[in-house]
């Protein structure tokens, strides 16, 4: 059974449709890249999967041990976070908040998990530092460590490299790849960088006027034959 299956999904806000007829499924260990033009509804799709935005119609089904609320999420950065007084450790620990249930304080196990994920993201030296004083790449790694505290199975990343310099971008992609390969975490990533998306992913979901879902190879074949992807994607291919 698939980890996540979307059937005939229709996305939108307050009854106004953005996208309809989405059909795709994600298996354990997949690395799915979601591509498409700005404003095509990529972030909305992610929020709908997470239950932040209600779907207009269609089904979202979790399986294979994945449950709603046990998915790690790295949102597109918001302004609020930029000047927030919080240490790296506080933010990573907050990824454990859902595991607490009614407990008011973090347990030893929670703190241990946070420490491990801080280490995994190479942030141990920075763990007492203030989030707002870190570089963009470091900030994204903090949020990734937080997301890891919330999940064992799947990560949803919304443009994790936007605004990062080439070096930090490369580092971020490597980290995500490692999580996918070594820890077997399923990755669903939004990216507007088609080249990188195709380098690392196993499956591609293209949304927009044309919807495509399939393996990376199928997507590449399709690109070669028809130049089916419009806009940015088409250019970077040609």
């Amino acid at each position: 059974m698939a980890l996540l299956t979307c059937r005939d999904l229709c996305l939108g806000y307050e009854g106004k449709e953005i996208l309809h007829g989405l059909n795709f499924s994600v298996e354990q260990g997949d690395y799915l890249c979601i591509v498409g033009e700005n404003g095509s509804g990529k972030s909305t799709l992610m929020k709908t999967i997470l239950g932040l935005v209600p779907s207009l119609s269609g089904d979202i089904e979790f399986g294979d041990g994945l449950v709603k609320g046990k998915i790690g999420y790295l949102p597109q950065q918001t302004d609020v976070q930029r000047d927030f007084p919080a240490s790296v450790r506080e933010i990573v620990l907050s990824g454990c908040a859902s595991r607490m249930g009614l407990r008011p304080f973090y347990s030893k196990a929670d703190k241990q998990l946070a420490r491990e994920n801080i280490e995994k993201m190479g942030l141990t030296e920075l763990s007492k530092r203030c989030y707002r004083e870190l570089s963009g790449g470091q900030q994204q790694r903090v949020l990734l460590a937080r997301a890891l505290c919330a999940t064992e199975k799947a990560l949803l990343l919304d443009e994790p490299v936007s605004g990062l310099d080439p070096h930090a971008t490369e580092h971020m992609y490597e980290l995500v790849k490692k999580l996918n390969k070594q820890d077997g975490i399923t990755i669903i990533m939004i990216s507007h960088d088609l080249e990188a998306a195709l380098e690392y992913s196993t499956k591609v979901l293209h949304i927009g006027k044309n919807i495509f879902f399939g393996s990376k190879q199928e997507y590449l074949d399709r690109l070669d034959k028809t130049g089916f992807v419009s806009g940015k994607g088409g250019e970077s291919n040609g």
Binding site: K68, G69, Y73, V80, E90, A97
Partner: protein, 285 residues
Amino acid sequence: MADAFDKLYTYITEYEFVQNALIVGVLIALCSSLLGVTLVLKRFSFIGDGLSHVAFGAMTIAAVLKLTNDMPLILAITMISAVLLLRTGKNAKIKGDAAVAMISVSALAIGYLLMNIFSSSSNLSGDVCTTLFGSTSILTLSSTEVWLCIGLSAVVIAVFVLFYNKVFSVTFDEDFARATGVKASLYNLILAVVIAVIIVLAMNLVGSLLISALVIFPALSAMRVFKSFKSVTICSGVLSVFCALLGICIAIVYGTPVGSTIVAVDMGAFAIFTITGKFVGRSAK
């Protein structure tokens, strides 16, 4: 100066109303500053102002209805407004700050209108001024009011400590919290109720116009110097209590209005923290 200390010492040891004022002042300052950090970060700095105007409107309604115990009505109306305001969030048609401003002026206008139409008092503007600036009501507290304040403050502080970690996660990133199964709307509701309680309490101390100062100044000062959520929260609480104590003492000795004096002290603290923050920031680099 020694005279002033003598005078203060005599007042504090001999007059119960001074002791009451200090107890209530410290508690209100502590509660409002704890929540202040979250409110400032959630871009709801003005909710204190808005809600206190709502409470003022509610107070005039209670007066028109000739209720002897107006507290329950004021609390209820303020809580409902707080819930509605905090619920609006990001996707609302009317944005947070505009919604607060709208409710605030409406409540103020209705309140004043009601007072004007129904009040039998000869000194109307004096009454309004007292409600808005709090003038001396903190020095005329009954023992019931003091106990009510102690009880409610204890509840507020307990709720804050118990939900501290969840409040952090909801304040830092509400979407992430909700996505990972934290009941963000529940915590927002709790926050709203607690804020309403604090506002109604604080009206006795500084009056409705100056509550915003009590909510935002300590938080803003603390953020100038400290870098983690925990240290900002603790510093903000300590600073607020200190400023309230100092303000009340100055007010007693020199006969100045309590609310304005506390706010003046808060402003002074903010200036000091801003300069310290600049200095610390530079030496760190």
